[in-house]
Symmetry: C2
Subunit: 228 residues, 2 copies
């Protein structure tokens, strides 16, 4: 049986409409949103935990946690001191704007200046879906191989910022930082790069300073350079 | 504009038909296929390289490499001594049976007893797509967090075998092997588990012995237990 459905282009167009609506709503509240994407296990949640802990005195942060199953991540983020809400996609491989719109209705945004959205762990599908964010961050890690920007170029082309996490494990791998930077900048010459370790804290000062500047509405995707 | 297309169920049904055809073709040649899936960077390609190198004297292996872009992986596998063909999906997040059928037409299967299919690095989407394989292997690694079976249950439910890779990096992480085993077996009590390090070679003997047994058509998904 063949059933009529709208084509994928139409589904994406509907998503764009909802994303634009989210962007207007957030702007009206003086809130800016970041969409964080990575492979499973690159360290997005730990990066958010650390960022919330460090910025809590100066900045009230809201977090939307996307996962296929479990609410473990939202609990970690709440414990770190942010407003958090969990989206469970029950199998779906990426967040969509309508999920974010529904999640925003469940979160107290009073006095929040920054919204961090942690997408499903997936280096492919989330790149195509606008969530109403102002900027996109792709997180990679030193243990996942240094060929990811060349193998998953859409994600790196769609991001404004790349975070290279797990610097502390670099001595135990053959990960080539320079190769990753080169591959990523070949795909996206304007990419801003941070290198850090959530475990040791190395590089977190520069990252948090950028987050603060971003939340304050400063220009975020300036000249491409490395801040570690 | 609304365009008529078949619904997702129909697309999956067509995929099943092509997968069944592949399964019959491979069986007629005495070939058994494994579908390897994981997050980006868990070490599928390195595991295949090591397996091909170790088994080459006894077993002729054919490999289909799935990547969104680049043919780097097929080149690595050919250098290790197997027949290899690269599929580039140009953005698509998983392999489908028709891609495998087309790839099989380009590969010399003479005297091959084992076909290894490396799927796109993605812990979500590939789980839904039958490629004509006899068994599925999900590869995880000690650096990607010990919550993956709970967060991505479909993949672990769809696999017969789980490989935990990067044992050499275990001392530098807080990865809890017992938790991963427990979570994975809760989702899939019949899962066969191997723990290994492609870097040090630990655990590769047991894995390669299993591959050999699998290629010879022995029963592969026996009692669930850990072989490291």
């Amino acid at each position: 049986m063949v059933v009529k459905v709208t084509i994928a282009q139409n589904i994406l167009a509907v998503n764009e409409t909802v994303a634009a609506e989210i962007r207007r709503t957030l702007a009206a509240r003086g809130l800016r949103a970041l969409n964080l994407m990575s492979s499973p296990g690159a360290g997005k949640t730990t990066l958010l935990e650390q960022s919330v802990r460090r910025l809590r005195p100066e900045l009230r942060i809201a977090v939307i946690e996307g996962d296929i199953e479990t609410s473990a991540d939202a609990e970690r983020i709440e414990a770190a001191g942010a407003e958090a809400v969990q989206i469970n996609t029950r199998g779906a491989c990426h967040l969509e704007a309508h999920m974010v719109r529904d999640a925003l209705a469940k979160i107290d945004l009073t006095h929040c200046a920054l919204l961090l959205i942690e997408n499903i762990g997936n280096l492919v599908c989330p790149a195509a879906w606008d969530l109403g964010e102002e900027a996109r961050v792709v997180v990679v890690s030193t243990t996942e191989g240094d060929d990811k920007p060349a193998k998953y170029p859409q994600m790196f082309a769609a991001a404004q910022v790349m975070v290279i996490n797990k610097l502390d494990l670099l001595p135990y791998t053959d990960y080539d930082l320079e190769k990753v930077r080169r591959q990523a900048l070949a795909v996206n010459p304007a990419l801003r790069i941070f290198e850090l370790s959530c475990r040791t804290g190395a590089g977190l000062d520069a990252w948090c300073a950028w987050l603060l500047e971003f939340a304050r509405g400063s220009r975020y995707n300036g000249s491409s350079h490395t801040s570690s």
